[in-house]
């Protein structure tokens, strides 16, 4: 399925003339997001009618530009201006913008484009303009099946983000998570997947058994998670395209806390037996199992470094939960968290330089980051309960879940997904159809 999608994205690069004059600095909290204008993509009447019939959308051009607008706004780095103020019509702007007009409404960058229906396909071209320099910065065209229209919006967003910040975007991605419903004492949990912006939500299990902690394979459409199928908590593998499911951690005890290795070839997980939890790996090809830690303590929540050479995990071998790193063969175990409180759920940044974690100190939960030697701890957000950060593929944003405190009668419980920038700014609720927890961010679907 994915291969097919890639084949259909016949991407052609039109000539690029300009050099970057606008730059967005994403290393600091951006309190002055860049004002830009996303002109609705223009569309001719014939194409408009065709898409109306196929996609049941009145104007697919403005639908796609709305996706771009929302993505850029959500990033916190850009401030898409109100369309009310636009002076130039979309089709003319795409040919040659009247830069004075866009300058007047204080747009520093402008996105224009055109949608056409060609050979039963959706063809989208878009241009990014530097308004102050009066120059084209980028021009691209995509052809794909019409049903892929949302992804086109995400890919355009990624291209704009990359051109203006110098780093890859994270919009053409998905989130796998646990959808929750019902009273706190008897929560019904289902595996669910959605686009990064909440669209195309799909439930992958029925809720007959408890499921927890899904994680994406960074290289394919596979997911690993914990299921209580037949009351035996075990690690499972699921192909989200075909729906095939299999148990991989069928050891005589509980297997839990699964993740993939960066090359997607191994699963790393915990195996609990007789009150001890150790970390194991399983090679998915030959099913060889390797014991990585060997200690009477609880060793869990493992996370590989992006180069696969190290593993971060949490252990209570010192008496309380703390973060440790070791070589991927289990040697050279070293504690790295030494601050006040307990530390858990280490997650190695895709850039390799930071570890995100959950911290509990004096009755408050924090999401924070530290360098891989444990120094430079920065706490990004504090709350009654929150945990399990997962990185966006470009390592700039963290998604996690937060639970509310109930009142004296035990009422008012909720669990929601939130995202926050690495800078500690731009904290946002991620809208989901139901309550949600345990989010995991996919890699970019296209590159």
């Amino acid at each position: 399925m994915k291969k097919k999608l890639i084949l259909l994205f016949l991407m052609s690069l039109l000539p690029l003339k300009a050099f970057a004059l606008i730059e967005v600095d994403i290393t600091r909290g951006n309190l002055n997001p860049l004002p830009l204008a996303v002109s609705p993509l223009s569309i001719d009447d014939k194409s408009k009618k065709s898409f109306e019939k196929i996609l049941k959308k009145e104007n697919i051009g403005s639908e796609i530009s709305t996706i771009v607008e929302n993505n850029l706004r959500t990033s916190g780095l850009f401030n898409p201006l109100s369309k009310e103020a636009f002076l130039q019509a979309p089709d003319i702007a795409n040919l040659k913008p009247r830069f004075e007009d866009w300058n007047l409404i204080k747009a520093q960058a402008l996105i224009t484009g055109k949608v056409t229906y060609v050979d039963e396909k959706l063809r989208v071209e878009f241009r990014l303009w530097d308004v102050l320099a009066a120059k084209e910065m980028m021009a691209l065209a995509f052809t794909t099946v019409p049903s892929n229209w949302r992804r086109v919006g995400h890919i355009i967003s990624d291209k704009v983000y990359e051109r203006l910040t110098g780093e890859k975007g994270y919009f053409d991605t998905r989130i796998i998570y646990i959808a929750e419903e019902g009273p706190k004492t008897q929560r019904k949990k289902r595996l669910a997947i959605m686009d990064q912006d909440g669209a195309n939500n799909k439930f992958l299990t029925l809720g007959n058994e408890l499921v927890l902690t899904p994680r994406f394979n960074p290289t394919s459409q596979m997911v690993t998670y914990l299921s209580y199928f037949k009351n035996l908590p075990r690690v499972y593998l699921l192909d989200i395209e075909t729906g095939t499911q299999e148990v991989v951690g069928d050891f005589p005890g509980m297997t839990f806390a699964p993740r993939f290795s960066p090359d997607g070839k191994k699963i790393i997980m915990s195996f609990a037996r007789d009150g001890k939890s150790d970390i194991y790996t399983m090679d998915l090809e030959n099913r060889l199992v390797e014991k990585i830690t060997n200690h009477p303590s609880i060793d869990t929540s493992p996370s590989y470094s992006p180069n696969g050479r190290f593993i971060a995990f949490n252990s209570d071998r010192s008496g309380y939960q703390q973060i440790y790193i070791m070589k991927s063969d289990g040697s050279n175990v070293k504690r790295i968290s030494f601050g006040n409180g307990i530390y858990g759920t280490p997650v190695w940044s895709p850039r390799g330089d930071l570890i995100a974690f959950t911290k509990l100190h004096k009755g408050k939960f924090y999401i924070g980051v530290m360098r891989t030697d444990g120094k430079g701890e920065r706490l990004l957000t504090e709350n009654y309960y929150q945990e399990a950060p997962s990185w966006s593929p470009n390592g700039r944003v963290l998604i996690f879940y937060r639970e509310t405190k109930t009142n004296a009668k035990g009422e008012g419980f909720s669990a929601k997904l939130w995202s926050i920038d690495l800078t500690g700014y731009n904290e946002r609720l991620v809208e989901t159809q139901t309550d949600a927890s345990d989010p995991s961010w996919s890699s970019l679907l296209s590159n």
Binding site: K184, L212, T213, F256, G275, N314, E387, K405
Partner: protein, 162 residues
């Protein structure tokens, strides 16, 4: 005849109401006192019985898996009952409170259930008759976000498997 029946029913309902009110008041008092010693739950109002006089659950301190004196007494009663009912197998379900990360709590629940299992074994119950299942913080009995609720949730429950 009919009248007297109605009269009788009313009396019964009245009596039932009285009992209910009495229960409610008693429970409130218990909640207010917060039956805890340091932070281990010592109450009996949530306990179900495996058999007459044999409570089904034991409670733990925060982040602890050590059995308290009361817990050991409960488990000795369970062991005695299991020795008498040798055809019954049990599942020990280990639980944690909501104040910990999900995965660590799964491991903690497993360790708590195993600590109960080890104790039952020292009182002569074969490990073949005991399986262990951890729910971490997934199945609290009390939905509250307060120390008393958490203390009720940090537990290992002995459940008949057959």
């Amino acid at each position: 005849m009919i009248l007297s029946k109605i009269y009788k029913n009313t009396l019964l309902i009245l009596a039932a109401c009285l009992v209910l009110t009495a229960c409610a008041t008693k429970k409130e008092v218990a909640d207010m006192q917060g039956q805890m010693q340091s932070d281990v739950y010592t109450g009996t109002d949530t306990v179900e019985y495996l058999a007459d006089g044999v409570p089904d659950r034991v409670f733990f301190a925060t982040n602890e898996t050590v059995l308290t004196t009361a817990s050991r007494e409960t488990l000795r009663a369970q062991a005695a009952w299991l020795r008498k009912n040798s055809s019954i197998n049990v599942v020990l379900e280990g639980h944690a409170d909501e104040r910990g990360t999900r995965e660590y709590n799964l491991a903690l629940g497993e360790r708590r259930a195993n600590s109960a299992k080890d104790y039952l074994m020292t009182y002569g119950i074969s490990s073949d008759r005991i399986s262990v299942l951890s729910y971490g913080k997934e199945r609290p009995v009390d939905a509250g976000s307060n120390p008393l609720a958490w203390s009720k949730n940090r537990r290992s429950v002995t459940v008949k498997a057959n």
